[in-house]
């Protein structure tokens, strides 16, 4: 007879000293875990609810300007800094961590309409409706940290007066050039007092300009004749033009897929385009109920933030038709400019109510240093939520956002209108000769013409 029975001595299965960690034994046998699928589903549901409980996206407001914020610029070389320009000609550099003004750049007579910093973060370029372009020296990070400001207003490095008012400016990536938008697109050099190059296509003023992050010589501009124009600095004439049904307020290139850009349009939608193939948008991002004023991509290229005239800020996936997040407060007015910070974890919005607001990019993210166990817990919650996201209950909780009443009503109204339009189109199609009416997808419908 051979016999063996289970026998566990306490010493082998408990810790030796009280300072030791408790010993942990694992057995992954599915038979030991009863109803594991139901348990997992309940965990997913709880994780979705907890996400809602911990959703506190608003961190704080940066107060100081005395007129509405018109433009912002990130400092590519310094994470904590953000520049903002206002309608009364004031430019400020903020420290995001302490949410205070580090220094001011006085000088503009009218509204500041464009701000940008060079890639090395040394030079700030501003332009405005007073027909001047000003170059400023950005104070070094160490100086900006010491808050006791003996003299925190800066003198411009150079002031260039030009023929027309400016609507926007953008600096070339890794180069010496910057482009201003006004009556035409002007290309400037740091060391010249006059533009080195000028592009014009049509007679309408250009309202936004943005350099491509991957190919430094390519830039996209939008004009008030509802067109989107691509320029190549190596050529003497503009490359391509696309005319849409409504005006584009702002453009942002995807930093990770530099051939794609997204245009924030006056018709409440954003349109993602492939610059090589402009006859059709890659994706239409719908959700705003009023004109989209500004757009900025996250440095990861996976999502972008938009600010709108409907007083909300939304975050979209780069390929998602609807927003994943909406931010609003009672006091925030029309949003004119938004920026993703360079670490992709915060969003800054500047609005009509003279404040900059700082938001978390993920509403329920836990800030601060995470312990490994905490991090694992968060990862597990993400994973179960992702696994059961298609189930109706989880989906409902994850998708639900409370909206301010005017926006909720406006969204409902827009929905009814589009639905009615679609129904009418369907009926018209059904009652006309087959093939005589073709429906265009929304990706194409808003495009009038592509000009080479």
């Amino acid at each position: 007879m051979k016999v063996k029975v289970i026998s566990r001595s306490t010493d082998e299965f408990t810790r030796e000293r009280s300072q030791d960690l408790q010993r942990v034994f694992r057995n992954f046998d599915p038979n030991l875990r009863k109803q594991e699928k139901a348990v997992e589903y309940v965990r997913a549901l709880n994780a979705a609810k907890l996400d809602k409980v911990f959703a506190r996206p608003f961190i704080g407001a940066m107060d100081g300007h005395i007129d509405s914020i018109s433009c912002m610029a990130k400092n590519p070389n310094y994470l904590k800094g953000i520049f903002s320009g206002s309608m009364d000609g004031d430019i400020r550099l903020w420290d995001i961590a302490s949410r205070r003004t580090v220094c001011q750049f006085p000088g503009h007579q009218g509204a500041v309409r464009g701000l940008t910093a060079s890639t090395d973060g040394r030079i700030l370029v501003s332009c405005g409706t007073d027909c001047t372009v000003r170059l400023w020296n950005v104070p070094v990070a160490t100086i900006s940290d010491s808050d006791d400001s003996s003299d925190n207003s800066m003198k411009p490095l150079a002031v260039h007066v030009w023929k027309n008012a400016f609507w926007g400016v953008d600096h070339q990536w890794d180069g010496n050039l910057f482009a201003t938008a006004g009556a035409q697109v002007d290309i400037w050099d740091h060391n010249r007092s006059q533009p080195v190059n000028t592009f014009q296509w049509g007679n309408d003023s250009v309202i936004a300009v943005r350099f491509n992050p991957g190919e430094p010589d390519i830039l996209a501009a939008s004009a008030s004749d509802r067109s989107l124009i691509l320029y190549d600095l190596r050529m003497s004439s503009p490359a391509r033009k696309l005319i849409m049904r409504t005006k584009t307020n702002s453009i942002s290139w995807n930093p990770m897929e530099p051939m794609n850009f997204t245009a924030a349009n006056e018709d409440c939608n954003c349109y993602s385009y492939d610059a090589r193939k402009l006859d059709e948008a890659k994706c239409v991002h719908k959700d705003h109920v009023s004109a989209v004023m500004d757009i900025d991509y996250s440095p990861t290229g996976r999502e972008f933030v938009t600010g709108s005239y409907d007083r909300t800020v939304r975050i979209f996936q780069y390929n998602g038709g609807h927003s994943r997040e909406i931010y609003h407060t009672k006091r925030m007015q029309r949003v004119f400019c938004v920026k993703f910070t360079c670490d992709a974890s915060y969003v800054i919005s500047g609005s009509d109510d003279t404040n900059l607001r700082l938001w978390k990019a993920k509403a329920s993210e836990q800030l601060g240093v995470l312990l490994p166990r905490e991090r694992k817990k968060h990862e597990y919650h993400e994973a179960v939520k992702n696994r059961y996201k298609h189930l109706p209950e989880v989906k409902r909780i994850v998708r639900h956002r409370h909206l301010p009443k005017p926006i909720f009503k406006a969204a409902a109204l827009r929905r009814t209108m589009t639905e009615a339009e679609r129904r009418k189109e369907e009926k018209r199609k059904a009652h006309s000769a087959p093939g005589s009416i073709s429906t265009e997808p929304l990706r194409k419908r808003r495009i009038i013409q592509e000009v080479e």
Partner: protein
């Protein structure tokens, strides 16, 4: 597990080749994969397909990792009992086992004799560390099985019919003469559950925090012990019974009735999920295999039956009485009757149970309850003269998981676990016959109605079929062309008939609808001019 094999010639130890190891791993991987992967070939959506391919790969990897961890990292191995020569495992006595095993294990073999306080019933916590015992005459006790210390024992001076632990060892419920009560570890009465009435049998559903009871009048009660809410209260309508068992796999409660019927219940429906006739005569005991696919029933008709719960079919019928049945974690089945316990085992892997061990108590002991101790090779027997424990090698799961049930749990860990299990408390709706259905999407049953053209085409096809059937040659005189033509016409009419009938029905329906709507449309002032029906 105890496997009988002939060890005539000493076999050489051959190092396992890589092939063997990979084969062994494959079997284990299959266990951890929890079923087949999704059929990705049938998918049209490329994006979804890509996502699912990655997901399936991940599942495969994690299953492999788990299988490897099982193979190399598990601290202990399961027990076994092997007969040598002409020995038979069922002839081996407990005394001879006690001589062979280590001192620690032989301590698990004992009899507690308490003759005055009547037949005992018992229950274990899920880790097997603590045992609650209840004597019929009112003796309640909690025992720490690790050091054999009585934590608390007290007398309630009332009939005690059943005891059951709640989610941990701090609380237990006892079914007493008039009502069930909940006590804590110190013997303090916490609750009296008057709504349950005089309960015969209690069961606790651990994942759902539900206390299920069956009372004298055959009423089944479910009470949520966290909030105290009564979740369900159902009349079984099949009379008094004390045979109740929870299926651990899906949380369904099985009841055995005096008419030989086994019913299965969930807290959210007033009718049983399953009603099956298992025996001719009253059912005396019921047990579920931990994997949920096997049920054992014993009846007064001197039969023990094993049922496949996926097909609801008898797998095996064994002769014999059983007052009580229990499955161990590794699938051994203990049956107790009179003063004799028999252990059956499934050694062929084909769910064919045969006798494995036996044990007879002293004459005159009446066994009331047998229960395997989780994570140990021990069977506890509650009987009329106290309780006993015997060693059954190969019955328990050798490796515990600290996060599931830990026999060496500290009080801090217990507190932590209580909070976690409360967070993961399942709603009562998750109790269903097939718990793998949770988290899946129900396919829409609604089929679109065939259009008019489709129906027409179908009918024409049927007519063509009918026409093309060759007619048999008949006897002379009955084979006339006119008769043939007539037969063909009849066949065609027969083929057309169902289609026409359906069409008629639909037309009738639509006209009826119109009629009803027409009646409603008539203004009230004009209704009196409408034609009355001819009934009056």
């Amino acid at each position: 597990m105890g496997v009988e094999q002939e060890n005539g010639t000493p076999t050489e130890m051959v190092p396992a080749s890589e092939q063997d190891i990979s084969d062994e791993l494959d079997v284990k991987v299959k266990k951890y994969l929890r079923g087949e992967g999704a059929n990705l070939e049938a998918l049209q959506d490329k994006k979804l397909k890509g996502q699912l391919v990655i997901r399936e790969e991940l599942y495969g990897k994690s299953a492999k990792a788990a299988a490897k961890a099982e193979k190399w990292l598990m601290p202990s191995e399961g027990g076994y009992l092997e007969a040598e020569g002409i020995e038979k495992t069922w002839r081996i006595k407990q005394e001879s086992i006690a001589r062979e095993v280590d001192i620690l294990s032989s301590k698990n073999q004992y009899d507690i004799v308490l003759p005055e306080l009547g037949p005992y019933t018992l229950d274990f916590t899920s880790s097997g560390r603590y045992m609650a015992v209840g004597g019929r005459k009112g003796h309640l006790a909690i025992i720490d099985m690790k050091n054999m210390g009585v934590i608390k024992d007290f007398q309630v001076r009332e009939t005690v019919r059943d005891v059951v632990f709640l989610h941990n060892e701090l609380f237990f419920a006892a079914a007493q003469k008039k009502y069930p009560y909940i006590y804590n570890r110190d013997g303090t009465e916490l609750h009296c559950l008057k709504e349950h009435g005089s309960v015969l049998k209690l069961q606790f559903l651990k994942n759902h925090f539900l206390l299920a009871s069956i009372n004298k009048f055959g009423q089944l009660h479910y009470q949520d012990v966290t909030m105290g809410e009564m979740v369900g209260n159902y009349r079984t309508g099949l009379g008094r019974t004390a045979v109740m068992q929870v299926n651990p796999f899906n949380g369904v409660v099985g009841l055995g009735h005096s008419g030989g019927i086994v019913t299965m219940w969930k807290p959210t429906s007033s009718a049983p999920l399953v009603k099956m006739l298992c025996h001719h005569g009253p059912i005396s005991a019921l047990a579920f295999h931990p994997n949920g696919h096997l049920m054992a029933t014993a009846g007064m008709d001197k039969k023990i039956k094993l049922w496949d719960l996926r097909k609801f079919e008898v797998l095996q019928t064994l002769p014999g009485h059983a007052k009580t049945l229990d499955f161990s974690q590794k699938g051994l089945l203990a049956t107790g009757t009179g003063s004799f316990v028999q252990i059956l085992g499934d050694f062929s892997g084909t769910e064919n149970y045969s006798r494995y061990m036996g044990h007879s108590m002293a004459k005159g002991y009446q066994i009331g309850k047998v229960l395997f101790r989780p994570y140990e090779d021990v069977l506890s027997i509650g009987h009329s003269m106290g309780w006993s424990c015997i060693l059954i090698p190969g019955s328990g799961e050798p490796n515990f998981d600290s996060w599931v049930a830990n026999p060496f749990e500290t009080s801090k860990q217990r507190r932590e676990k209580e909070v976690h299990s409360l967070l993961d408390k399942l709603p009562p709706e998750t109790i269903m016959l097939d718990p793998t259905k949770i988290g899946t999407v129900r396919q829409s049953r609604k089929r679109e109605k065939p259009t008019k053209q489709e129906r027409k085409a179908e009918m024409e096809a049927a007519v063509e079929d009918a026409k093309s059937i060759p007619l048999r040659k008949k006897m002379k005189g009955k084979n006339k062309p006119s008769k043939k033509v007539k037969k063909r016409e009849e066949a065609v009419a027969r083929a057309k008939k169902p289609f026409l009938e359906r069409q008629m029905e639909e037309e009738n329906l639509s006209t009826k609808k119109q009629k009803i709507s027409g009646e409603i449309e008539l203004p009230k002032s004009l209704q009196r001019f409408a034609r009355k029906k001819a009934t009056t």
